[in-house]
Symmetry: C2
Subunit: 496 residues, 2 copies
């Protein structure tokens, strides 16, 4: 066990370094003054280079080999950890450090420019920087693919979500693409038949939204002693192991966005806070992959947060937060307002029924850009054309078009599909959870997430990376991932 | 120049790593949730270990040797930078990495416990953790001393302020110790003769103090695009090169503390923001040492901020911030209130005349602890006895006694004397600045720090570490550092 123990010590150091990177990333988005972007980019590039060195060090290869010889003496968790160590080492080893650092630097730089371009709603400002980011992502995908035998885009998918591939995505996405337009049309019909929703009139002061947000996080069971709650341009969950930091963003004319953003990021945070403490800094103690991570955020946001039951608790809490009253503040009216289907521009504000279209669009576009079939300069046009085709809306400017999401600019490619896969997993998990624990919906009506959180903790969070996504889903739900749960959920909620 | 250029690239990476440490340190004090302390300690320990590795790498020694051979081809700034690189490398080389990491870990841990102990006002809670920190500081001082030929405490002094030694401190501190009691007594007499100050009645809401603070920072010329302003338990200036972050703390019954804290940290920040941009990440581009750094904060706080002139601007700003009026809000009454001499418990809230006593006490105690002449367990008693002896006050609890300052607990030893040396430098610099630029005081009355800032930038900030503290002071003031300026200033202001 000597080699294995030495590996654990080295991976704990690596985990600490990655934690530092996570906190700096959070700071960049939430706290950093504008003029410090370049210096921060350097800091992140250097830390990422060091993490890469640490992970690819020759001593690690040597220790991994010696630890394999000790495998018979390891318990099941240690053995899984050793497998994950090997995976992390070999994944990193295929990337030269200059590529890692160059990519980090290009992403930091481009993200800074994106902030300005987005504010100015001018894609041309960030076009060249995005081109650099893309070129480096292609090099990364090629290097990973050469080692693993995967295609370039598959290699990027796999880096965010081990095992995810176009071979799995293509039929699943095809089925969703096929059924979704009819489903959205039916949902819009059903909505029209139900008559208009009573409008909720603001303003909704940021302070009141923030207080309500804190109350919701507390109801979720978010542990404030191991996390924070702030505002940022783009809602996210970041920080480090043992310090999960969620953000949302505010619009004083509409509190739904901040609330859904917070429920979403709160779901991510529960996963992070629910990973087993003993293994936090170890490879097998990590979240399994981004599809499973997105399933946790979407489950909390859509299945629990948007449930009719939870609105029994939320409606009075919102009335109190905003000093509001009247028939528009009943749980029923809020439920209808929150689940209102409307083809619109912004992905993170999209309703559950039109959301997949946003993801399918981005997945297709990034795949085409990675393949060289779509030039960066042509992105705004292709994006807007896709919005028109898939959702029937025409973004009036880049801010509401291809500049709306941070991902591509920050160097996150091959990630968008995980949102849709996550939605499929969420539906399948929520169905299994409520079947196993019938008390889940009634307790949501009391603002009590404990029964749901307990089921998720045991079946998802605590399993960390000790098994594959496939095995975790199979064990939790009794069957392989199947998009029918997702489509059935949409049909039930939106067509009824 | 090949070796020199390679060194610049390596030191830029090191600078980025140290910047990351600075931001994490800031986060620890300002943002981090309580439960994340242990993980943060690991992060900082690992980063400090990596910085140590980077600085002591064999390649650096080799490059330094080769760069020396190129020295004739370097310009004066490059040559000074090479000298500072050599100094940094040899200083770090004497410390084994396990000692660096152990010290970082012990400091993080002890600081966390100190926060609780301070809240509970119970020194015994943190006693053992402080003992560990001290033992590691002794080892660090011994290792540095063995390499440099300095005594253990001198070696710690030198690590904060190159060139500072007991040999210089002893006669200077002896002179201050000799003259101070009489000076304070005379100041109290003079104050009594002038009759009572009209009291300023609160409450002073934190929001109003924060707004006023922002206005003061703007008047100082603080660049908000390269810095932040927040609140923390202990005021400080931190962050990284190009991202200077100041904090203060608030008491709603008395705004003087937050204001003085902010002026103090604002002075530090002006130094940080005034270092030459081209050299920010290089050893010669750093602030020269902590005495000079403290001179900048004390000059802004006491000489400029507490000047009768500045209060012409501050009085109406404060009236506006607090919606206050009446005869107690005249510049004259504020001046008398702010410079009121009163022997009291808290160092950072102390007036200028009694402040040196706080520093002399701590300097003596830490020197005795380092020498093994005072046991950690006996610190509270010795602290309180010293307060009684030097200031005639008897701290009623540890919170207002030996638990009030973060330094020792965070592993900062051999630092306290720089506050008093800084005060001496500040007085000498302000006398020289106002002699050279007579417009400085009248412009302060208009809230315009530009003339003062311009003089400091040229004579102190821009010189960074391109010369010794001694040379910088000599060039700026035309004479070596002499405590008579400091004593004369106190006499002038407080006895008149």
């Amino acid at each position: 066990m000597k080699a294995y123990n030495e590996l654990e010590a080295r991976f704990a150091r690596l985990g600490a370094l990655e934690g530092a990177i996570g906190v700096l990333d959070w700071d960049t988005a939430v706290m950093m003054p504008d003029g410090a972007g370049e210096a921060r980019g350097e800091q992140l590039a250097v830390l990422q280079g060091l993490a890469h060195d640490m992970l690819t060090a020759a001593e690690i290869a040597d220790l991994l080999e010696r630890a394999e010889a000790e495998r018979a003496g390891l318990d099941a968790l240690q053995a899984a950890n050793l497998t994950e160590m090997r995976r992390a080492h070999s994944q990193a080893g295929v990337l030269p450090r200059d590529l890692v650092e160059a990519s980090a630097r290009a992403g930091s730089r481009c993200e800074m420019i994106w902030r300005e371009a987005r504010a100015a709603s001018d894609f041309t400002m960030v076009r060249d920087a995005l081109g650099e980011v893309l070129a480096l992502q292609v090099r990364i995908g090629e290097a990973r693919g050469a080692a693993s035998g995967l295609g370039v885009y598959d290699a990027l998918l796999d880096s965010h979500d081990p095992g995810l591939s176009c071979a799995w995505l293509d039929p699943a996405f095809a089925r969703v693409s096929r059924e979704l337009p009819g489903l959205v049309a039916e949902a819009l019909d059903a909505q029209a038949r139900r008559g208009p929703v009573l409008p909720l009139r603001g303003p909704f002061p940021v302070e009141a939204q923030t207080r309500l947000g804190g109350k919701i996080l507390a109801a979720l069971g978010f542990d404030f002693s191991r996390g924070r709650f702030d505002a940022s341009l783009h809602p996210f969950c970041g920080g480090s192991s043992g310090d999960a930091r969620v953000t949302t963003r505010y619009d004083e004319s509409d509190f739904k966005g901040s609330l859904m953003g917070l429920l979403h990021e709160g779901g991510h945070a529960l996963y992070e806070q629910g990973r087993p403490a003993r293994w936090l800094a170890q490879p097998a103690g990590r979240a399994r992959g981004m599809s499973l991570h997105e399933s946790q955020s979407l489950l909390v946001e859509h299945h629990a947060g948007l449930s009719r039951e939870f609105l029994e608790w939320l409606a009075p809490a919102a009335r109190e937060a905003f000093g509001a009253e009247g028939p528009e503040w009943t749980p029923d009216n809020l439920y209808r307002e929150f689940k209102r289907v409307k083809a619109d521009f912004i992905r993170v504000d999209a309703d559950e029924a039109t959301y997949p279209a946003h993801v399918l669009l981005r997945s297709g576009l990034e795949r085409a850009m990675i393949a060289g079939d779509l030039r960066v300069a042509d992105l705004p046009g292709a994006f807007n054309e896709g919005m028109k085709r898939l959702l029937g809306v025409d973004p009036p400017d880049d801010r509401r078009g291809c500049l709306q999401d941070i991902h591509w600019y920050a160097g996150i490619w091959g990630y968008f599909p995980t949102y849709c896969v996550g939605a499929m997993i969420a539906a399948q998990l929520y169905a299994a959870a409520t079947a196993a624990v019938p008390d889940i919906p009634p307790s949501l009506a009391r603002g009590d997430f404990a029964p749901l959180r307990g089921w998720l903790r045991a079946n998802i969070h605590a399993r960390a990376s000790f098994a594959s996504t496939e095995a975790i889903i199979g064990d939790a739900t009794g069957e392989p991932l199947d998009p029918r749960h997702y489509l059935a959920h949409l049909r039930r909620r939106y067509i009824g």
